[in-house]
């Protein structure tokens, strides 16, 4: 059967899933397990850390608001300890408030809590394949931040100074609802290179270390002065 062969392929793929709401945790776990992933479920940060202590998972899916802390800390730790682990945030609304703060510490994209099981599996599969998805609303938030404004806009802090004009063009395309193929043809790119650009965008938005964060803050301050 098709699902069996898929399951066999995904046998080695481990997913750590951190979600404090039990029904949601159950449906996400169900969707991923059915798709053949090896899922370690956790309800608290402590449990998730215990799971991570056993070894690097391929994928970490985590909620942000947790009973014993904030998911951003876990993402930062994981990114530092396991650079190869793909991290995604589980969001209720897919709003930039939660997603951007996760992106800046190392997450690549988000998964909606009410997504259909097939979509959940597809998203994780794309992620493992190296395709970091980016939503139109997040792309929109990032490109709006690249436009100079006299006062800092509300919402989470984001440093977009490293983005190249081309990357900003790609983000504009995504924000306006164009597909990768359409963006590639508009910008004269090969369709296959677009996911790579998006991965780069994520990497550039990430604040890697505490020292670098301070340095960047000072640099931005200096630029504004």
């Amino acid at each position: 059967m098709n699902s069996l062969s898929e399951g066999a392929k995904a046998e080695a793929i481990t997913v750590v899933l951190l979600e404090d709401d039990a029904p949601t945790l159950w449906r996400l776990q169900d969707a991923l397990t059915k798709a053949g992933y090896q899922v370690k479920a956790a309800g608290t940060l402590a449990e998730a850390r215990a799971c991570l202590a056993q070894g690097a998972p391929k994928v970490l899916l985590t909620d942000l608001q947790l009973p014993d802390g904030h998911g951003v800390d876990l993402i930062r730790e994981t990114r530092r300890r396991f650079p190869d682990t793909e991290i995604m945030v589980i969001s209720i609304l897919g709003d930039e408030e939660s997603v951007i703060s996760a992106i800046t510490v190392g997450a690549t994209g988000y998964l909606l809590k009410d997504a259909f099981p097939t979509d959940i599996a597809a998203t994780v599969r794309d992620l493992v394949a190296g395709h970091s998805p980016i939503s139109a609303s997040i792309a929109r938030f990032i490109v709006r931040r690249t436009q100079s404004t006299p006062e800092p806009p509300p919402g989470p802090a984001l440093n977009t100074t490293k983005l190249t004009p081309r990357e900003i063009d790609i983000l504009w395309g995504i924000a306006k609802g164009f597909s990768y193929a359409e963006i590639a043809s508009h910008l004269g790119l090969s369709r296959q290179t677009v996911p790579g650009h998006i991965k780069n965008i994520y990497r550039k938005l990430e604040v890697h270390t505490r020292g670098e964060a301070v340095f960047e803050a000072v640099q931005q301050g200096l630029i504004k002065l």
């Binding site: 949601t24 449906r27 408030e97 009410d114 509300p154």
Partner: protein, 653 residues
């Protein structure tokens, strides 16, 4: 005065500038030569006299006991003859037929005083007329011979000429004849040499007041103060009388004032220097030495000494002042050509010419003794008045121009301010909205959103409650729409449609319906700066409705969304969004409502109302409406956006 005019001149090459300078100099000198020539011609004209038949020139002069025949005009070599004045005597005939009309003796010019007697009766003593006692005025005299004194036939006339300096005595030709024939000549001379100077002195007094006020209001322009002082001194000098009596403190002051010509000329010269841009120097006091010396002589010496000094000090001082002024005004007229300097230069030329003529007359090099220097001073007064008025008018024009520029600048600044204020207001509004959105987002995220997600998850666990899960999922979707539409998209509806595409695809995926997204024009839709979140919500909900209809009622396999910008017939650009499906379509009744299910009908009515609120046009067509549509399949919803979105949520219906 400053050198702005110099700075403003374009920098010319040296040779070119020298050529221009020399051509200007030649022009200026030519003009002055013409003016001087005109003056000479005017001075050579003698005033018309009475009929020649009444003129008397042959007299017997008895002086210091010696008697000899002389012909008038007579220049006396003496400078002082008060005790034994030269006496001129002659005979004249009054025809017997003319007894009815009065006869007069007319003396057009004499220095310094005359006593006329006819038949040994004194009929005129000019010393009693104060204006006649001023040798610088060419005051004429006339006296009617009393009828009782005059006889038919021969009559004797004798004139005693009093001389008290500073110049030598002089007696012009005289006329004896009918009063009506002599008087017009006398009146003309009085007008020119007596009345006119008084008029000019009044003008000088007015100038003194105007310049004084100007200096008081503008202390930094010392030139006006100096000129005001010069004018005041001139007025005092003109209206005071020559003292003839003994020495009193008052008469001393009088003497000082009446001999103030060197002070006045020094003041006018100082004005001319300051006016031409010269800065006052300590050595400038040299100019005032002659005037001060004369004043000291008047204070400590006697009148005779003052008179003697006047000739040595005052006359050359006036001449030197005029010469320096001529040079200075010529220089400034050449450097900065302007009306005031040119007028002053011409006036100086006139005065200088007259002064030379007077000097020649004093040294008896001309046949007459009419002094014109003081009279020509009026030319200077006219020039000063005209120059002042010109400067005043020019300053007013500059003020007007400046005010005009200022008004324009203020208006421009106001416009800019208004624009930036509106921009600032817009920015503040957007920031407030963004803050509110962030707050709302957190609230929904923490509360409602989490609960809805739980409902979705719980409904999936129990198999029988799929409807609840769908409803909760729809509620979440709507929640995301509300939050999304509140985001600042800068009037670019494409940004809202981008998010909508993602949501629509997520919605269609479980139903295996493909979403074909076609942006026909590269930029998609026009940007609408007036676009507000509630417009976005209406449009996105309308599109949601169209997609939902296709999913629920049409059994469609493919939905196509076309986005394009249309150029309307009125030349304005309008965005157009078309949602098309390949489903079975439905019947549309004549009133535009769907004939099918009640639910679908309500959906269509909602869509129409949403379109109307945004000022957009909604066009519905369905293949079931008529078979002649041929290739047309399914339902098409065509939304044409307005060129400008309405400000208020007005048209509902």
């Amino acid at each position: 005065m400053n050198d702005h005019a110099d700075d403003a001149q374009p920098e010319l090459p040296g040779r070119e500038r020298r050529r221009l300078q020399s051509s200007r100099l030649i022009q200026y000198l030519l003009l002055q030569a013409v003016i001087a020539g005109g003056c000479v011609v005017a001075l050579l004209q003698s005033l018309p006299g009475p009929p020649a038949q009444y003129q008397m020139t042959a007299f017997q002069l008895s002086q210091a006991g010696i008697e000899r025949a002389v012909t008038l005009p007579y220049f006396s070599p003496r400078r002082d003859a008060m005790n034994d004045p030269p006496r001129f005597s002659a005979q004249f005939v009054r025809p017997s037929g003319e007894a009815a009309q009065p006869w007069s003796v007319f003396l057009p010019r004499f220095t310094n005083g005359v006593e006329v007697s006819v038949n040994d009766v004194v009929i005129l003593d000019s010393r009693r007329d104060p204006t006649a006692n001023r040798p610088d005025r060419n005051t004429p005299a006339i006296a009617v011979i009393p009828a009782s004194v005059l006889r038919d036939g021969d009559n004797a006339i004798s004139i005693r000429l009093f001389i008290w300096g500073p110049i030598t005595g002089f007696l012009d030709r005289i006329w004896v004849g009918p009063d009506e024939l002599l008087r017009p000549s006398y009146d003309l001379r009085t007008l020119v040499f007596v009345t006119l100077p008084v008029v000019f002195s009044s003008w000088q007094a007015i100038l003194a007041v105007i310049l004084g006020i100007m200096w008081v209001m503008r202390r930094h322009e010392a030139a006006y103060g100096v000129l005001a002082a010069a004018m005041a001194v001139g007025v005092g000098q003109a209206f005071l009388q020559t003292p003839m009596g003994g020495e009193t403190p008052l008469s001393k002051l009088n003497v000082i004032l009446i001999s103030s010509a060197p002070i006045e000329s020094a003041l006018v010269l100082t004005f001319a220097l300051l006016f031409s841009g010269w800065k006052w120097q300590r050595y400038g006091w040299i100019l005032f030495i002659p005037g001060v010396l004369l004043a000291l002589a008047g204070l400590f010496g006697n009148q005779a000494m003052v008179r003697a000094l006047f000739l040595i000090l005052a006359v050359p001082m006036v001449g030197i002042s005029l010469l320096i002024m001529a040079i200075v005004t010529a220089r400034s007229a050449l450097r900065r050509p302007n009306v005031a300097s040119l007028l002053l230069g011409c006036a100086v030329t006139i005065m200088l010419t007259c002064w030379i003529a007077d000097l020649l007359s004093v040294f008896q090099m001309t046949p007459n003794r009419i002094f014109t220097a003081r009279l020509s001073y009026s030319a200077m007064l006219v020039a000063i008045g005209a120059g002042l008025t010109w400067r005043f008018a020019r300053a007013l024009n500059q003020v007007d121009g400046f005010a005009g520029r200022l008004v324009t600048q203020v208006r421009e600044a106001e416009e800019k301010l208004k624009v930036s204020f509106a921009r600032e207001e817009e920015r503040a509004r957007a920031a407030a909205l963004a803050r509110e959105r962030t707050r709302l987002m957190r609230d929904l995220h923490d509360g409602l959103g989490g609960q809805l997600v739980s409902i979705v998850a719980l409904s999936e666990r129990g198999n029988g409650s799929a409807g609840i899960g769908d409803a909760a999922r729809a509620a979440l979707k709507d929640l995301r729409l509300v939050i999304d539409s509140m985001d600042d998209i800068g009037g670019d509806l494409m940004l809202a449609l981008g998010s909508w595409r993602e949501r629509a695809m997520a919605q269609l995926r479980p139903h295996d319906i493909a979403l074909d997204w076609r942006a026909v024009t590269p930029q998609g839709l026009p940007v609408h700066p007036e676009l507000r979140p509630w417009h976005v919500i209406q449009i996105v909900r309308l599109l949601d409705e169209a997609v939902t209809n296709a999913v629920k009622h049409a059994n469609a396999k493919r939905i196509t969304v076309r986005i394009e910008t249309l150029a309307g017939t009125d030349g304005l650009e309008r965005g157009c969004i078309t949602v098309e499906d390949d489903g079975k379509g439905f019947e549309i009744t004549s009133d535009g409502a769907a004939a099918g299910a009640i639910k679908a009908a309500r959906g269509l009515r909602n869509m129409r109302s949403r379109a109307a609120r945004c000022g957009a046009e909604l066009e519905l067509s369905s293949c079931a409406q008529g078979a002649d549509h041929g290739t047309d399949q399914g339902t098409r919803v065509r939304l044409t956006l307005p060129h400008r979105f309405p400000d208020s949520d007005g048209a509902a219906g």
